[in-house]
Symmetry: D2
Subunit: 385 residues, 4 copies
């Protein structure tokens, strides 16, 4: 393909957090260019943001509807090839559905929708339209998460018995939503965020990571969600017992009131033959533990890693890569698959390794199951489908 892939963006105006992450992730490898956007529901803010991003003025739109319509009218190669949807949660569904009417490919932030019903509709529509869809469960973009998945799949740790996945943060320990903090405001507002704050925003990442690495599905759970900060409208902490389809057991916990914690997504998986451990805040190491030989620390970029991991690093071992690079790995695979599609080529498994609409459905099913379990007297709740 002799040209860059062209990206549009819905959301991500001034003051947004995740919009700029998407832009950096897309820009990093020099294969995607941002050509248009509807950056805010306020037309003025959208214009300002477009100007700051140095986008041609005539391609900064005042609404996503306008953007899709106008862009669709442009020639292939000039019009955007895909749209990144980086709005608060409640807008994911309408924007994605509208984009698919025009056949635009999509990168969508997570959770995919406000509820399971909407999630299934998106999944259906993606199938129907055949668009390329990527959901940014970005933690699966880390090289050593891919290595973990590969090694588990290869049977190196045997049959899995126990999974412990945790995601503590501390930033919502006080009632930040009462200040002007935009990130806190919409996440704690059910109409924008959905049925859960903590479990929706970060618990679903933990769920996705555990299922991605192990290849197992959660089959049942027992949840205890709590709202610790007085007056908050959604949960800010949750503890969950897990059952997996193969008989494995687990613990998942997520918290936004764990004072002093930053972004400590961390997973341990124990099998009959060995164990694997990964920590998002130290992402370039993967620890493997064995019953009868020394613990090993695998390091990003080393030649002993598998193809998926090695293909996901950009610099030699010891030159730390991080959150943005992992995020960029999703964009890169997405862009490759999109290029292949535009050129009529098939994509390999490694290229297709990014979260899809089906992950979004699992995520919403998880959120709805934990919310329901939390208010139930019954111990175990079947994972919704």
């Amino acid at each position: 393909m002799k040209r860059k892939i062209r990206m549009g963006m819905v959301g991500g105006g001034k003051g947004a957090f995740i919009g700029s992450v998407h832009r950096m992730a897309a820009a990093l490898d020099g294969r995607i260019e941002l050509v248009c956007g509807a950056f805010s529901s306020s037309p003025e803010k959208s214009k300002e943001s477009g100007l700051e991003l140095m986008i041609a003025a005539d391609r900064v739109y005042t609404s996503y509807q306008e953007m899709f319509k106008e862009e669709a009218a442009l020639a292939e190669g000039e019009r955007m090839d895909f749209v990144s949807v980086v709005t608060p949660n409640h807008m994911h569904f309408p924007v994605c559905m509208e984009a698919m009417k025009y056949g635009f490919n999509i990168v969508c932030d997570k959770p995919m929708t406000l509820n399971l019903e909407e999630a299934k509709k998106i999944e259906d529509e993606v199938k129907k339209t055949g668009i390329v869809f990527c959901l940014t469960h970005n933690y699966t973009g880390y090289p050593l998460v891919k290595e973990a998945k590969e090694r588990v799949k290869a049977g190196q740790i045997g049959e899995i018995r126990k999974i412990v996945v945790e995601y503590p943060q501390g930033w919502l320990s006080s009632k930040l939503e009462d200040s002007e903090q935009k990130q806190a405001s919409w996440r704690t507002d059910p109409s924008q965020s959905g049925a859960s704050c903590c479990m929706g925003d970060i618990g679903s990442h933990a769920e996705n990571l555990a299922e991605y690495i192990t290849g197992l599905k959660i089959s049942g759970l027992c949840a205890d969600l709590t709202t610790f900060v007085p007056g908050r409208r959604l949960d800010d902490d949750g503890n969950v017992l897990l059952k997996f389809a193969n008989g494995a057991k687990g613990i998942l916990y997520a918290s936004q009131i764990s004072v002093g914690e930053e972004n400590s997504l961390h997973i341990r998986v124990y099998g009959t033959k060995g164990a694997i451990e990964w920590d998002q805040m130290n992402p370039n190491s993967l620890v493997m533990k064995w019953p009868d030989r020394p613990m090993e620390t695998l390091r990003a970029g080393q030649a002993y890693l598998g193809k998926a991991a090695l293909g996901s690093t950009r610099v030699p071992p010891g030159h730390p890569e991080g959150f943005i690079e992992a995020f960029a790995n999703l964009y890169r695979n997405f862009a490759t698959v999109l290029s292949n599609k535009l050129e009529g080529k098939a994509s390999s498994d490694i290229e297709l390794d990014f979260p899809k609409a089906s992950d979004g459905v699992r995520g919403l099913a998880f959120i709805e199951t934990v919310v329901e379990s939390s208010t139930s007297d019954k111990k175990w709740m079947k994972f919704k489908e």
Copy 2:
């Protein structure tokens, strides 16, 4: 007091693990001497062990009954001052009850008894006889565990919201009890170990540590115990959701099938103002986390620590102390309180800081509650009293 405190021992013969720990812990500070023992239910083994330990032949007994009787007949200052009970769990109760008949003071390994009923009987008898009783929940002997307790009590982390305590081990990942491994055999045998293997052996340590540091009591829980190794007669893994009396929530998990884990007792406590974290495998550091200033790492032996912590180290900062020293701190406080008693002196709070029969009762209540909860369909189970 111008003489050493005299210790007898029941159990701890050849092949035992915890007996030698008790002996080293007692010996370390040069204030306690081992003068007699009934080291095994086999008279021959007991004799052999006594010889190896270089104990006078006439004070190596063939049964604990004999030992108590004979020692009681000796003069004060010659006879043992206390007995260390280091048998498998099922013998704790009869040995302790017999010892108390003669008024011997006791150090007893944990869990205190096979069941809650026995535990309460011991607690009652301790009260009645007025003996000094120490239960070796040894992890509370670590200096920085004491510091954590003190800082929590002083309100440094505010009102507690969340407690995460975990204790993974991997040594029972395969069916070790089928080999000659004595430690595995009795721990997985309900008649010697009690209603639980994993929760009794190590889960109860986690429970004790959490309640010790926070000063809170578990009020309810929801447990999921599992036996992963086929043919094993007791649980080898357990995950528990916790509720505390003040409204705090928590997770406790213990495991003996977490391959590659050694002895990873680890606790995190989050309050409204800060958090505290301690890890048994790195015991000379205590981490405190704050919402608005850098994380601090407190180190054993440093002058900025409180009295309880400082009084529990023997060497300057940076000279690591470990498991045996922490265990010895229990013995040292016990010996001090015993000396005080023998001299008719009162003991200070810092001297009295070692686990007692009431901790043993909590421990058995914990074990019985998790076992019952684990087979129940009901989500929450009230903590037994």
Copy 3:
């Protein structure tokens, strides 16, 4: 400024390492676009690389001379604004000198030249032409390195007494230059690399980092360089005693034969009041140690950091940033200063915080001093000027 800054590149064709790092660093923030290049001394390779990078065919040049001439003929706003020089060391000097004839601004990889004499000529020419010049001693781009500098400057650790800076790698433990490994080949070839391999390639980073953070200058040194791999033409290891102008002492060591080490640049600075420690492989933490209070761990992105550090992170605390982001911080500051210049605005100290030609002169002086010291019987060698 309403347009992106336009970058040309000399070097960085297929198989290069540092060229792609420069491109990613430049692309990350969406403010710089690569518009032209002479990517290889082989015209064909240059074309191929240009095609792969999706650069307009007429702006892929076959030599840097051609590129400067042709680009200079284009209109401002169309022609490149600056050139990135990412060739092996021996080409830095001719390319930079040629670029300055046309008044092009420059980003140049380090070490700046083959020798001190050339370095001084570049420094002079930069002054004369008034171009903006950035030398990519990229480790000073890390947020917590900036924080360290700021805190040292503010006197938080008192008067500096001791500096320990080390940079071990293991990748040249065997004779990699005998294989087709391009990176190893030119670095061990004196005609391309200069008087030193290990000290030139990484020792100079250590020197730069130490002087950047402490604000002190090395005044004398005693070096022991070694070539461990038989047949290698330059040093692959070096140990150096340091004296600083204020009386501080230090150790600097660099190694390419420290098997198993990746890229362990690490610095500790001890003053009369406190100490500071930073580790490139764990770059988002900065440790401060005190004589009388707990060690503190400062974390990237936290609100308690200074302006320079906070302005150099792109994501919230706990979302690790790494090597590429730090490198991008140099590009960002360079681009800002260049923008300011194009718009006739002055730049702030924070914007001007990137390594300059004077750093390049220090670097070459360091290299020449250690090489001379290493073969001398005299203990101390004055740092060249």
Copy 4:
């Protein structure tokens, strides 16, 4: 042997640091009992200390001369079997020489004497008398230090190229000797401490550790000692370049003014095939690094370790052992060899694994060489013999 080994002590009265360490180390395994002592040069203090230690009053002596004379007159089995010499440095020589007159076996703290000449005399006298002599370079007592030695000897890391050993402390950052701090006073007093403070007290440990693990001898060095604290009479910091007999190079540094450091003895050894790293403050782990496979972390107590390491742990993996246990390993081996001697049995290599008078000679040679080198203009100084 059916009885405990009997220990006397010279020094170690109230306020001493190392005396109590020796007592705990000796007591830990229950095989040695303290029976007599001359605990202080002040007869009163000696009596008080003896009382506190609960030693029979008639065996608390007022001088070491008296003690040796009186004890020698007692029957074998009653009199002390060996003496522990735990005075300040300047008394090691006269006490040891006097003890050997009576044929007493000796455990002596390090450095062995005030100077090399004295050290050689002790070595000669030990040979002549045939006594068992142990010098407490205690860091070689750590299980994983023994493992490191064994693995290096077995060739696992190939031919050694580079050794980096460091020992920073911060406790003498201010002029502590002006206060009543006894430890600081004698260590900074040349008449009690010898020619060096920092290098004598801790640098010699680093030297001993490096030679113990690698089996190599330092052949030459280049030292830079500094006294940072104004008015101090001896060095409080030192940096040293090393040459080893096999061509390996190294760095050794020790410091007592590295604010915030506790007791950070740390060693890295790089060979042609691999590397080994050990850190005294995290002593139960040993890291091995490889060019082409993941880094391994070996853990104390694990079955994959060699005999020397396994025989030096007392509790299962994950139950941290520390400084006192390592120290006790020296005492245990010493006691075993002494028992063997008393019983006329030969000792194995593993039993004989403790530092001897020859280590003391190396230590003093090291101290004298660095002191001389530090004031010399010559770069390299041959290691004294």
